[in-house]
């Protein structure tokens, strides 16, 4: 893991830690570990997510490729597939013990088909984990009220979805994301639903501080190429946001000068 001496220009800062990359990437659903490693490298990400699962006691030969990542990347464990605050809190504590980090991507799922969060359980889990000293990055729906609650209680970021996990639908509600951006002062990471590069660029243009994606890269036909595209998209979207775009107009505003036009009547 690289530890910069001075923070990079326009760094993403979460809980006092600076990241040059605004892209956080997941480690699942790749065809093989080599592709996973190459895609993560191409993405420029500095932080990767992992999940916590039972050790296979019958077959110990299968080495988790996560070991290959620990020296090079910041590992962010998730509480994926937890449906209650109790499960999520236990998983987070196991992750802390296994990985030596108190950072957690908190997921408390309310529905198996949409994988949308169970908001009451999410809030309960966040409160408990914050009280136990965790740095909590909660995956949540794109609801400004929920995001405000999570931010106010002390979460290090809010991570509203763009669309359901793995759906590739992109940013379904850009207006809610802009409202969340307005109302919440902690870093805003769009997490879930990104499908292709333009979705990533849009998220950053809307003012998100970063994005988290997995399936869009891992399941692309060429994951390494898509990872590179996402890296560029995140950079482009962030630059566009900082550049200050022109407003949208209903009518035209001519872009060439009006004066000095040749006499129209002089043309035969």
């Amino acid at each position: 893991m690289t530890v910069p001496q001075t923070p990079p220009e326009d760094a993403l800062v979460i809980a006092g830690r600076a990241f040059a990359s605004r892209l956080i990437i997941g480690t699942s659903r790749y065809s093989d570990p080599e592709t996973m490693l190459a895609a993560i490298e191409a993405s420029g990400a500095e932080m990767v997510t992992v999940s916590i699962r039972r050790l296979n006691l019958q077959d110990r030969s299968a080495e988790s490729p996560i070991g290959l990542l620990r020296d090079r990347y910041t590992i962010l464990p998730n509480t994926a597939a937890c449906f209650t605050a109790r499960e999520a809190v236990l998983t987070a504590k196991l992750a802390r013990e296994a990985l030596g980090t108190n950072w957690v991507k908190l997921e408390v799922i309310g529905d198996e088909d949409t994988l949308f969060p169970d908001v009451p359980e999410l809030l309960k889990a966040a409160e408990q984990l914050l009280a136990d000293g965790f740095t909590v990055l909660p995956y949540c729906n794109d609801d400004p009220v929920t995001c405000r609650k999570l931010s106010d209680m002390g979460c290090a970021a809010v991570m509203p979805l763009g669309a359901p996990i793995g759906s590739g639908m992109g940013i379904r509600n850009p207006y809610n994301l802009r409202i969340i951006r307005d109302q919440v002062s902690v870093p805003l990471i769009v997490d879930a639903g990104v499908g292709t590069a333009s979705d990533a660029a849009l998220a950053l243009e809307l003012g998100a501080d970063g994005i988290l994606l997995n399936t869009a890269v891992a399941q692309a036909e060429n994951p390494v190429r898509m990872a590179r595209a996402m890296r560029l998209a995140v950079e482009a979207g962030r630059l566009a946001y900082r550049a200050g775009r022109i407003p949208r107009r209903l009518y035209a505003a001519a872009s060439s000068p009006e004066e000095g036009m040749i006499e129209r009547d002089a043309i035969d």
Binding site: R29, V50, S51, L55, I66, K93, E97
Partner: protein, 67 residues
Amino acid sequence: MELKVNGKKTPFDGATLQELLAHLELAPDAQGVAVAVNGEVVTRGEWRARALCDGDAVEIVRAVQGG
């Protein structure tokens, strides 16, 4: 005694969690694993002192791929 280890009924004739884990070739200095007994994490420093009882549920986990 009979334990449930990672969801599977497992006979055990030792006394402590550390003995159970040693039997599974997991030493306290094993990297990247974590253990819970009956829904509570038992840190590696506590493995030796933690006595196990008949019916205890032990979960042994590690980090794998995830999004």
